[in-house]
């Protein structure tokens, strides 16, 4: 069984077979390994969530409803007055509860305004951080124009920024008309 003393042809044959064997064995082992790979996904509480602002749930003011994880905020009872800008400074805030790392956030549209465009001039959302980030829903030629997502901004650790909401109804607005808008706060 020794290769020593055998013709070189046999050595080459053996070497070729050895190389192809190593190739087949390693590729097959890799294939098996890919079959056995398992992922463990843990559930964590989000570090970025909504916080109730001082303007929320006051008599005659807007109502803020947060879900159990504080990651969805529903604001109802916002008002818009014809030809006047009405500003809600502090209905809800976005909090970054992380103690380390870099967290980027931005405002982005989720669901387009539900209608009644002729009754409104705009609904604007502003992330009141170290720099303002805007998401402006305006009415152009009788229909809502959906904005693109704002630029990302780094929110420092253990910091909360308010989301300022500005509304303005059109001069010909009909009292009682409403619009529903859904936006998201993207986190990276």
């Amino acid at each position: 069984m020794k290769l020593r003393g055998k013709p070189i042809r046999k050595s080459l044959k053996f070497l070729t077979l050895l190389l192809t064997s190593m190739l087949i064995a390693s590729v097959s082992a890799g294939m098996y390994l890919s079959l056995t790979m398992k992922s463990t996904i843990g559930v964590y509480r989000s570090n970025v969530y909504f916080v109730k602002g001082s303007d929320a749930n006051q008599t005659g003011g807007p109502t803020l409803l947060l879900d159990s994880t504080n990651t969805t905020a529903t604001i109802t009872g916002l008002r818009a007055y014809p030809n006047a800008t009405f500003t809600y400074e502090n209905v809800t805030l976005v909090r970054n509860n992380a103690t380390s790392g870099t967290t980027l956030i931005r405002l982005a549209p989720k669901v387009n305004p539900s209608g009644n465009a002729t009754d409104f001039e705009y609904v604007k959302f502003m992330l009141n951080g170290t720099e303002a980030r805007w998401l402006n829903y305006t009415v152009t030629a009788g229909s809502w124009s959906t904005p693109s997502a704002s630029d990302w901004i780094t929110i420092p650790t253990e910091t909360q920024w308010s989301i300022v909401i500005m509304t303005k109804a059109s001069a010909t607005a009909v009292t009682g008309r409403t619009v529903t808008i859904q936006i998201t706060v993207d986190v990276d």
Binding site: M1, S21, M31
Partner: protein, 171 residues
């Protein structure tokens, strides 16, 4: 009982079959003066077919059930073991090379069969069908006996004298 993370997949038997074919290919290449020249290449192709086997298994993982995957991988392993036994029989019955046949059985046939039985028993244990106790004891006992005999039988001195005897007989 919580299952261990190291639980075997049915494809392990296909992987084992591939490795056995590769081992056969290399060994038959070394012994090519006693075997047909094409045999090492045939075993390489058989190993390659096993890789294709794994590839198909991976792509149709959801379609094939565990039961089906086990059987087609296990059959592939059985084919590779059958080839090892066949080479052993070929040396003994056709070539009448008893010493080589004994060495082959001690160094290749029995260890591979024993390892295969061990892994099959391990797989069946995790599938909730453990081997009966007497079979498990028989497995351990045969492993000990085989290990001891192979160590004695394949000692360099013993091998040298046996091959020398065989050569003298042939001359």
């Amino acid at each position: 009982m919580e299952k261990l993370a190291s639980e075997l997949l049915p494809e392990f038997f296909a992987l084992m079959g591939i490795d056995l074919f590769l081992l056969l290919s290399l060994l038959t290449c070394l012994l090519d003066d006693r075997l047909p020249k094409a045999i090492p290449y045939i075993y390489q192709f058989a190993a390659l077919a096993g890789f294709g086997h794994l590839l198909v298994s991976k792509n149709f993982l959801i379609v094939f059930t565990d039961y089906m995957r086990f059987w087609y991988c296990f059959i592939y392993l059985l084919v590779s073991l059958a080839n090892i036994v066949a080479v052993n029989i070929y040396f003994a019955a056709v070539k009448k090379q008893w010493t080589l046949a004994k060495v082959w059985s001690g160094a290749v046939t029995f260890p591979t069969i024993l390892m295969s039985i061990f892994f099959v028993s391990n797989y069946s244990y995790f599938q909730g069908v453990p081997f009966p106790l007497f079979l498990q004891i028989a497995l351990v006992v045969s492993a000990i006996i085989m290990g001891t005999s192979v160590a004695i039988f394949l000692s360099p001195e013993a091998l040298r004298s046996r091959f020398k005897e065989e050569k003298e007989v042939r001359e």
